[in-house]
């Protein structure tokens, strides 16, 4: 497990992408799938910066990665106002307009997305990617690791 806390500066997104790719490859995902996973997490973090923090760069957010035998779990925490889940939807792809694709990418590449309603201080989003039988999973974290 790794936990990284950063300030909400967009220039730090590449660090998080590198971490996600590292764990994706450790888990046996292909280069392409690792890229997609990094894109999904990048979009989720970008949504926090844009929509929860309204572009503020002095707030903080945290990424936690749990590498389990059958899945990768990514926990994103922020300390902003509560997200209204009912307002989060990917836009229809037949609309050609700027914006709205981030959520679509998250839903496309992740197998599960859920908010922890018990997280009192802000938002805690869990994103899960299940590994295929070929994926070996990580051997550096026990299966008893807390998954959030």
């Amino acid at each position: 497990m790794i936990r990284i806390t950063i300030c909400s500066k967009p220039r730090l997104l590449n660090i998080l992408r590198a971490v996600v790719k590292f764990y994706a490859k450790e888990a046996g995902l292909s280069h392409t799938d690792a890229d997609y996973l990094a894109l999904a997490i990048d979009e989720a973090v970008a949504n926090i910066i844009r929509h929860t923090y309204h572009g503020r760069h002095d707030a903080k957010l945290a990424l936690e990665v749990h590498c389990l035998p059958d899945r990768l779990e990514f926990i994103l925490e922020d300390w902003g106002p509560k997200v209204r889940e009912e307002l989060i939807r990917p836009r229809p792809l037949d609309e050609v307009r700027p914006g709205g694709l981030g959520t679509f990418f998250i839903y496309s590449f992740m197998d599960e997305c859920s908010y922890d309603r018990d997280f009192k201080e802000g938002n805690r989003l869990k994103l899960v990617k299940f590994l295929t039988p070929k994926g070996a999973g990580c051997d550096n974290e026990s299966s008893s690791a807390k998954s959030g």
Binding site: A46, V96, R97, P98
Partner: protein, 119 residues
């Protein structure tokens, strides 16, 4: 990410390189919209050096496309790496943009397409 503009036979070419994400896409947006507004007949984005593109980068390209419709500027992309192309395909935007494989092809053909082709 870097963006450099050069002109070739009345075509503005934006050479983009590096990661296009929430941090860097405003630079691409500024350069791209400026070139389209500059009243030239054709604008091409060289994507061969783009190593990563997220939804903000794609939104920038869509914005460029929409502005090019208003200004009747021919607008195209070339040199997309497989990862950038697959992201565009997933978003079903690969048929919306005019995409060329190489700069040679783009320079040769951009003048012959209709400004709104692809939409």
């Amino acid at each position: 990410m870097k963006v450099q503009v050069r002109n070739l036979d009345k075509i503005s070419i934006l050479d983009s390189s590096g990661d296009v994400d929430l941090y860097s896409s405003p630079r691409l947006r500024e350069a791209l919209l400026a070139q389209i507004k500059a009243d030239g007949p054709s604008v091409l984005v060289n994507m061969s050096g783009v190593t990563y593109i997220d939804s903000s980068g794609i939104a920038t390209l869509v914005e460029g496309l929409q502005l090019s419709r208003q200004t009747k500027t021919r607008f195209g992309l070339f040199g997309l790496r497989p990862n950038a192309r697959s992201v565009l395909e997933l978003a079903r935007l690969h048929k919306v943009f005019t995409i060329f494989a190489t700069e040679e092809e783009a320079v040769e053909k951009i003048g012959s397409i209709a400004p709104f082709e692809g939409l």
